[in-house]
Amino acid sequence: MNPIPSAVVPPEPVAVTPELLTQHSITPEEYDRILKALGRVPSLTELGIYSVMWSEHCSYKSSKVHLRRLPTKSDRVVQGPGENAGIIDVGDGWACAFKIESHNHPSYIEPHQGAATGVGGILRDIFTMGARPLAVMDSLRFGPIDSDAAIEPELIRKNHSIVEGVVEGIASYGNCFGVPNLGGETKFEACYSGNPLVNAFALGLVRQDEIFYGKASGTGNPVIYVGAKTGRDGIHGATMASEEFKEGSEQKRPNVQVGDPFMEKLLLEACLEAMKTGAIVGIQDMGAAGLTCSTCEMGARGGVGLDVELDFVPQRETGMTSYEIMLSESQERMLLVAEKGREDEVLKVFAKWGLDAVVVGTVKPESRLRIRHHGVLVADIPNESLTDDAPLYHRPVGTWKTPLPAEPPVHAQEELTKDRDYTADLMKLLGSANISSKRWVHEQYDTMVQTNTVQGPGGEAGVMRIKGTGTPGHERGLAMALDGNGRWCYLDPKLGAMHAVAESARKVALTGAEPVAATNCLNFGNPEKPEIMAQLSAAIDGIAEACTALGTPITGGNVSLYNETRGEGIYPTPVLGIVGILDDVTKAVPADFQQADDAIILLWPVPRGEEPNPDLKVPFTPEPMRYPVVEAEAEVVADADSEDPEATATAELAAFGSSEYAKVVLGGVWGTPPSLDLEAEADLHTLLRAVAERELVHSAKDISDGGIAIALAESAIRSGIGAKIDQDESLLIHPLFGLFAEPASTVILTAKSADVDEIEKLADEYGFIAARIGVTGGGNLEISVNHEPFISASLAELREPWAESLEAALHREVLA
């Protein structure tokens, strides 16, 4: 190939009009910046390149100044944010690469392909670093799927098709590629109707000395394009993902890429095999902004330039312009730099797997991106102006005050004062969209391929064995979990985000693993609105604080803004993915009951700063709860020398307003998320590891959506083993809050009766109270106080609403 001569005719300037800039989502100020960086008027191709690289999706221009506050370092972190994925040391010479990324906008426009290519993109981010993908998970949020008088039937039907399409898309891609899906989250909330969230997480394993980076180096080294041919699909996908949706956004369907998991599987095998040759210098996938992003980023990271001849790029369609080739987001493509003279070794591997692999350019010493098409220079841009020197905005940060009330709405207050049938309430919760079984989703995923899945979907965290580590039969393991809570963040973005970190880390710790690192996906509305920036900024503060306290630095992730349709924003929804390490995967603790006649233990923190009271029997929640405040009970608390009882009751009532029970059963949301003590949370994780290491517990489950009643019911239904809880009144000063509140840092364990004393002792050491509250066994769930039953139902009765409601809602015809 002929090198591009150094003295050349500059790219032909385009006639720049305000309309042209608007079409490219470039502001007049940004255009001035382009003029300055180039010293001339850009060509159309250059304008397109700036447009995608400076889009919110690629440049993080609104969030970057805030993201800098996140903790990113620890002894375990091998690679932090800025590469294709974060990498941590997991021991025995192994490292794991992992990341979460959003594909929200494409999944709304074309659910199947949008979600499928989300999975494909995150998988490429992992294997481009040399890591073989070990597992994927997804955090999914949809609009309501149950008929509801308050929602247009048309919208419900649309939500059905989005749920069906997204799940099918994820399944079709991951199953064919051959990576197990460990579940994640599937949540429903009205605010996600016009704007579903599809956040895909992937994790892969790589030997520590075999990690590859997206960095070009070595003047004269060949630049090789591998994988699928380039077509016109996905042009301006990154720009589309950086805009609000308006009427007619569905017309952008051609902007959504089409995935081919078979091609991706071949690309995986070929890339890993080619890496083994030792002839590859750097490699990066072509994801958002395709060839543009990979060429300028690889060059910028290495401080070199890539000269590319577009005529050599394999093309699926005829007559493609340089603009189209550079901006195409065709899937399953990679760009790599090989050692000069050894390109044949690389090309041979790709030929074996039947893939295109073509030398398309050369590495140059000057850090510029130079693109030539049909012998004409069409782009000549300093790399840094596209990457590090892209615009950064200190957007105005306003204040966020939730429009939801602080006090229960009138109808909820009325409900609260009524006599309640707690069994009926439990059944209603079990059948509700957020709590019911997600079997319909998970069974569509291959959860077992690669034969490493120790705990698949449905438990607290996914647990994978790492073959070839530890000792045979006692290999090391990785636990991973995703969590977010939009409603809590809507009430209080900082506290809600802290809960997302704490809960995902807690899920990992419940398996006995040590949570060591995190990845985050920040889903927010339009950053040009000061109140949205306030949410984002507060959430980042919350994540920073919680990740620091829990020892889980952020190693990467993704920000998705402009999640608004017709001006309606989503709840601020940061989603956290936490990874933890198990030294011996055979000691991983499952979530559900394992056998009859085990003691059921409730574990909750002694409020920090107070001495544990050895005489304390069993207050159910950290602060006993009562509403309406009954006089006699108020006295009890006053005698106990507690804080102002009325203030306590008010705080507990406020926290109850953010619960699933308040939303589903009482029909209202108010108040604040539950309080969270990060010091206690960190101690809980250490404690959970200690009991798992000593093999003292048979199961461990988080108290989350729906409170202790739901935690017990789920464990019982899933295992087929019932439970009997009988406590004196100190357990349940007010049963409603005792049963259904969602206090942080509170878990249920089961263990042999003989081990309870030791668990209590260990708990005490870490500032926790472990109280035996019942026993497993039988075919019923019975919860009594002073032998008076509050909840009593057979497992079969409980199973029905829980097991079938999701599928039933999807299959039910929505009538106008």
Binding site: E443, M448, V585
Partner: protein
């Protein structure tokens, strides 16, 4: 005894199957590339699960034309043991080594879950360490596992005791509820006439270690090893 695991473009249980033979059976094993007719003088051929050729056209429809399948046909004709799992079963039916076809699941969705199988015959190289009627817990993971054959073929399969496994309840009852994919007569696995080729949709490769939740699948490999040792 040496095992060979075929690798098609798109196979994704090749390493899993290889791992069972190497790490659990502790037997020699090697991969066989789809593009070669050389079976490397193995004693048994394993056709693994996955999406050979991306399942384009129809599952197994392109894989049957691979050079390696010509060699497998000759190998089977000579009495060699061939086990096809999941996509491997689909490829064996497409290749004509086994009767019938695997259609889209009755529910039209991919299904991955633990199921129970009733052993229908102990008289084969793949089931000799099992007892007739023995119930196994082995997972499935497929979108096209709905077994179909003509009434004549079914009659023949039954008459010749060539149905190896049927989907059943945990108690071994063959019922409609226990049938995950609509398979004719709950068929989960069938043998060829010579009883040296078995195709099955459930994954014994995913149920050969306690850590993974079941070791019942190991009995299929154990049977093969026993049969090869007796040869």
């Amino acid at each position: 005894m040496k095992f060979g695991v075929i690798v098609f473009p798109g196979s994704n249980c090749d390493h899993d199957t290889y791992n069972v033979i190497a790490e659990i059976a502790h037997q020699p094993v090697q991969f066989l590339w789809h593009d070669s007719e050389d079976l490397k003088s193995v004693d048994a051929v394993l056709v693994p699960g996955g999406f050979a050729y991306g399942d384009y056209l129809r599952t197994g429809a392109i894989a049957r034309f691979s050079p390696v399948m010509d060699a497998v046909k000759k190998f089977a004709a000579g009495g060699g043991l061939v086990l096809g799992i999941c996509n491997g079963f689909q490829i064996l039916t497409e290749s004509g080594l086994l009767p019938g076809a695997l259609m889209r699941n009755a529910g039209l969705k991919y299904i991955c879950k633990q199921v129970h199988l009733r052993t229908e015959t102990a008289d084969s190289a793949f089931t000799n360490s099992l007892e007739k009627g023995e119930v196994l817990q082995i997972p499935i993971g497929h979108a096209e596992g709905n077994y179909f054959c003509t009434p004549e073929e079914l009659k023949r399969l039954e008459a010749e005791d060539r149905i190896a496994f049927r989907y059943a309840t945990a108690d071994g009852a063959v019922t409609a509820e226990a049938n995950p994919n609509g398979s004719l007569s709950n068929i989960a696995g069938v043998l060829n006439e010579g009883r040296n080729v078995l195709g099955m949709m459930p994954h014994p490769d995913r149920s050969s270690e306690k850590l993974l939740g079941s070791v019942d699948g190991w009995k299929v490999f154990e049977s093969m090893i026993g049969a090869l040792a007796a040869k």
